[in-house]
Symmetry: C2
């Protein structure tokens, strides 16, 4: 698309519901809350849920410096990050045509350890603010020992695809007159009002980042 | 636990938030809407979102007979299914202590193609009714050609773990008096009223499966 400076990603799979342009993939990555990262460990596939953030065509992930996926960077291991937003349950007139409405982005790349101090800080800010926009400036600054304890992994998007299903069920023509109920059950994910902990001063209003998060994830 | 006939699963990783008993793992699998399945394809990790259902210590997955993961059964490939339910964003007084409240089950096993007709039918009913309890009996029965077009994979749970975080932020003692707002932003996933398609008879009430689904996923 002309409005996006990034190249279209390579095609890795064809599907009626598949998209391979960067803006579509990026929009799903930006709208998701948590991702599922998969990698190969001891010859087996392994998946972990985790927070992430996007910066152009680069995804940032973080974890305790000792965790398995951070250690994978030493080997530039292949990674796959999948972000799925469920929008509805599609109830058709036959079990066969049942489906779900969803948006999913699947990204492939290789792990790169982020060692540069400025990039490390930038990544941690982006990961924090992916969920709570503006939060980094509201809290106590990061300490050197905290930076040391936090491993950051960069995953440059090498190939990616998006799969999207929207709309009503697609029933067989013969089934349309069966007199059955068919349609979509919406699935909505929403953020509520913040629940302050016991050490928050009485009467202190919610910080701006919470309202920003509710706006961001309201769609 | 004495109330569950299944053995505890083998420990695959230790964590403060980890659980390895079957009832905890099963409860998360039953409460999740969609899962993320990972497998190894051409030496790379691959993850796809998909519907699933649990029957005791066996998970059932399905897909078009021609899809890659169904073909994996020929090689009894190792699979990993991850189901995550996000419950809240944990906003601490430092970026370092930000977190999320979540329930995640991670299951490992090997792919087995379901060839037996009775088990195939049973699995498709369970997968349909995982999202819409009772739906199988409300719709037009499955046709032989539909059965043939649908590949079913069984994943016997060999090892599994659950990771759960609940509660408020855990801030550093020194940060508690900073006068900052700290707490949890609830994340709620809910099912709405069904939206009937254009071929549903006017005035036909929602089928019982939709209300059953709303009750099931209301927590």
């Amino acid at each position: 698309m002309a409005t996006d400076p990034l190249p279209a990603y390579a095609r890795i799979r064809y599907s009626m519901r598949a998209h391979y342009d960067a803006p579509t993939v990026h929009a799903i990555l930006d709208a998701g809350l948590v991702g599922h990262l998969s990698f190969i460990a001891d010859g087996r596939p392994m998946t972990v849920p985790l927070a992430y953030a996007r910066d152009g065509a680069c995804l940032y992930l973080h974890g305790a410096s000792k965790t398995r996926f951070v250690k994978l960077c030493r080997d530039a291991a292949p990674l796959c990050l999948s972000v799925t937003i469920l929008d509805g349950i599609v109830a058709a007139r036959s079990a066969f045509h049942h489906s779900v409405n969803y948006r999913c982005a699947i990204v492939h790349g290789h792990a790169r350890a982020v060692e540069d101090a400025a990039e490390h800080d930038h990544a941690l800010q982006l990961i924090t603010e992916h969920l709570l926009p503006g939060r980094y400036g509201e809290v106590r600054p990061m300490l050197p020992k905290e930076r040391k304890a936090t491993g950051v992994v960069a995953l440059e998007i090498e190939t990616a695809s998006a799969k999207i299903r929207t709309g009503p069920p697609v029933d067989d023509e013969d089934d349309l007159t069966l007199g059955l109920w068919s349609g979509v059950v919406p699935v909505v994910t929403a953020l509520g009002r913040g629940i302050a902990d016991n050490h928050t001063p009485e009467g202190l209003p919610e910080p701006a980042s919470l309202a920003a998060a509710r706006r961001k994830f309201a769609e």
